[in-house]
Symmetry: C2
Subunit: 137 residues, 2 copies
């Protein structure tokens, strides 16, 4: 699906049946056209950031899959609360330094740690053999 039409911009606060600002309307109003162009440019940057983050998440889950296999084979538990405390403190600090709301960093951490643990448990239940899970764990 293309993002190139401008009909994805809807004016707010028009009861429930929001109308759509299409390319013609945008062309007709130079100020609207400028806003639309700025939003498009920002969205391209957002998409580039998402590409980088999804690629990094792929690497992260490869690492945690390896940790899951090592833990399961050694009989270690999937959860590790000291490690989590360490990560919470660390990511909070990095977020503040980077100008990010630390709540966002904590939501990110919870999301990846919860998913990693869930996958660790599946690996452990399978006797330490990630099997088909290895591809996506």
């Amino acid at each position: 699906m293309s993002d190139s039409e401008h009909d994805w911009l809807r004016p707010a606060e028009q009861d429930e049946t929001e109308t759509v600002i299409d390319a013609d309307t945008a062309q007709g109003d130079p100020q609207v056209a400028e806003t639309v162009a700025k939003i498009k440019s920002l969205r391209q940057s957002i998409d580039n950031v998402d590409t980088a983050i999804v690629s990094l998440l792929a690497e992260r889950f490869k690492y945690t899959s390896q940790v899951g296999v090592l833990k399961a084979r050694a009989g270690f538990a999937p959860a590790d609360y000291k490690r989590e405390d360490y990560q919470i403190e660390r990511l909070h600090r990095i977020a503040v330094d980077a100008g990010l709301d630390p709540d966002i960093a904590e939501m990110y951490r919870e999301f990846v740690v919860t998913e990693a643990k869930r996958r660790h448990k599946r690996i452990a239940d399978a006797g330490g053999d990630p099997g088909i899970l290895d591809v996506f764990a």
Copy 2:
């Protein structure tokens, strides 16, 4: 908090009062010591990935904050479902290419879009002026 002690590794399946594998136990068993060393190395890589992702999230929320201000000033709605469909399809494709479970990419997308929308709405409610929100929005 340091991650350097080995007491963060607990054997699984020992009722609720899990005992802890400390540095001495790990030293005493070469195989356990090797597993612990491997996990530590992987965790360092995981931490490096998290540093990169949190830094990128900081940039992402700066961009979406700018989009929020532009939308609010122009009277556009915070939500944009065509844009979301585009992102869902795009991130699914990138995840598969990267060897990441597409469900993880979709969870990531939901998390950032939900937060961005919530912040857009706050900006809109404040009349397009991000004010104090600008720092973290």
